[in-house]
């Protein structure tokens, strides 16, 4: 029998392209590894679950010294720079034939990954259930911790 933890519990706190990408690559890979997988989206992470947002997430070049093309902050702050950095990153991903975030989200759902939206963050940020894509669970800290407390690896993004 294979050994190791049986569950993968991920927390996603940020609504940017790179963070959502890492979240969904690991969530789908976890499900493919036959681990019971859940992702808990809180605060800015809720952006990922909003209707129509998954393929519109952005990456900011501001205060991001690891961008492959170095952009000084004084330039990165100008209007349009976030859109430019996002377009650049998406074109590199496309060239490397990496799946889109939308495809990864569909794959996660197909593989039975639980997607849980943080109720408290929704209240704080004025996000309603109908603002989110269908089929999302809504729960609190206890919902996530109950899942994560049983034989799980936990990752936070």
């Amino acid at each position: 029998m294979p050994e190791g933890k049986k569950r993968l519990a991920i927390i996603c706190l940020h609504g940017s392209l790179d963070v959502a990408f890492a979240t969904f690559v690991l969530a789908t890979a976890g499900a493919a590894m036959e681990m019971e997988t859940a992702v808990y989206f809180a605060f800015y992470g809720l952006e990922v679950l909003k209707k129509g947002k998954i393929n519109k997430l952005k990456v900011s070049p501001l205060a991001n010294p690891a961008m492959p093309v170095k952009i000084p902050n004084i330039i990165a702050m100008l209007p349009g720079m976030t859109a430019a950095a996002t377009a650049m990153m998406k074109s590199w991903m496309k060239k490397s034939k990496v799946a889109t975030l939308g495809e990864l989200l569909d794959t996660a759902r197909e593989l039975g990954v639980r997607l849980i939206a943080c109720q408290m963050s929704m209240d704080v940020m004025g996000i309603k259930k109908e603002d989110l894509i269908d089929g999302i669970e809504i729960g609190g800290a206890a919902t996530f911790l109950e899942f994560a407390s049983q034989d799980a690896i936990t990752l936070t993004f």
Binding site: M1, V25, T28, M33, K97, V98, A99, T107, L111
Partner: protein
Amino acid sequence: MSDINPDLILDNSGLACPMPIIKTKKAVDGLQVGQILKMIATDPGSLPDVQAWVSKTGHELLKYETEGNKFIFYIRKAK
């Protein structure tokens, strides 16, 4: 050339991580226990990933070979 007769062939050429593993899982799910999947990938990370995947899921990597830029895996469904 190979002496193993696969029951299913899955070509993941061109796909990047994590898709080769995800498509492999789906393909193996559709097999009967004991049947063999031949999986072709071009992702350079596919060898360590397939090894990790069989180790975690308990399926068996019967054989691995390369052909040009292609990595070819023969995986037997074990359960």
